[in-house]
Amino acid sequence: MFQQLFKSIQEKVMLTQEEMELCKTFFIPKKLRKKQTLLQEGDICIYNAFIEKGILRSFSMDEKGNEHIVQFAIEGWWITDLSSFLTNSNSIYTIEALEDSELLLLTTAARESLMDKIPMFERYQRLLLQNAYIANQARINSALTETAEEKYINLGIAYPGIVKRVPQHMIASYLGLKPETLSRVRKQINNRR
């Protein structure tokens, strides 16, 4: 149940066996079925979710009802609305499972307590936030400077697992493209091969 979590932690910091056992007591194990939501737009995000199995997406919806995907998260990743989670404000995002998923949920209080009790966990969280910030900068840069084809190719290089598991119209939404544009781009790439 904690295999991916400890793999993720041990890639960044070392925990003792006792610390790992203590760590387990702070996480809420939760199964989500495909299309079930973890967070609904307008609610306060009370969990930071680690994905042991499955895939989730977070998205916002505009006035016309169009979905805009801001993040996908697969095994070994975390997903939350950080702003809502840390400030107790209402979320503008919905987080939904794209496959049957197994999560480990951490509440704000549990996160704080865990960081107090295990200083290495605080370091782990800091490194995660650092990496998330770098990834966000890269995403903004990609959105501002890359062509549609470059965006799609680079996504496939960086996150092949996501491109293979997620429907193409969702990939298009994540890249800020219309589905027909992505379809054209994919055809062009295939024709050149």
Binding site: I28, P29, L38, Q40, D43
Partner: protein
């Protein structure tokens, strides 16, 4: 977070748990389990007959039901059976566990709240006693966590039970 919390009702074969399952299923997903498959079938059919839009599902595994649930309700022997509790303890971490106490399981029910806390060391345990004052649908709630007690009191009151919280 999503307000549609999922409930697991385990040991769904006595009056109070059937009532809870029916009422909760009107608004929230409910996962039903009992060792007696025939009974679960009957309860499930009964719920859907009375509330065709109810979100109730039969489960064959209590661990999976509890894993999927946000709140776990234990009824009949499930609240006193150590082997059964071992099956769900790991997936109950951080969740609310409500143990229904009634005449059927009171005879051998030596579990104090302390024992239940020992069995579910990382869960928020609430005991729900059928009231002795013979007021219909009245229950007495006992637990160590005030916020959890309020959550269950709100839930029970909203579905028509006359719930009160025991003074400690």
């Amino acid at each position: 977070m999503s307000n549609r919390r999922t409930f697991a009702v385990l040991g769904v074969s006595e009056t109070k748990s059937i009532f809870l399952a029916k009422q909760i299923a009107k608004t929230n997903p409910v996962l039903l389990f009992d060792h007696d498959a025939v009974v679960v079938n009957e309860v499930h059919a009964q719920i859907l007959l009375e509330y065709p839009k109810a979100n109730a599902e039969m489960m064959i595994c209590p661990t999976n039901a509890s894993w999927e649930a946000d709140i776990i309700i234990l009824s009949n022997a499930t609240g006193t059976d150590d082997n059964f509790i071992k099956k769900i303890r790991k997936v109950a971490t951080g969740k609310i566990v409500v143990v229904l106490v009634n005449e059927k399981n009171t005879i051998n029910f030596e579990s104090t709240l302390d024992k239940l806390h020992h069995l579910f060391p990382f869960s928020k345990v609430v005991q729900s006693f059928e009231s002795m004052d013979e007021v219909e649908n009245s229950v007495l709630l006992k637990g160590n966590d005030e916020e959890t007690l309020k959550t269950i009191w709100t839930l029970f009151t909203s579905i028509g039970l006359k719930a009160s919280i025991a003074q400690t």
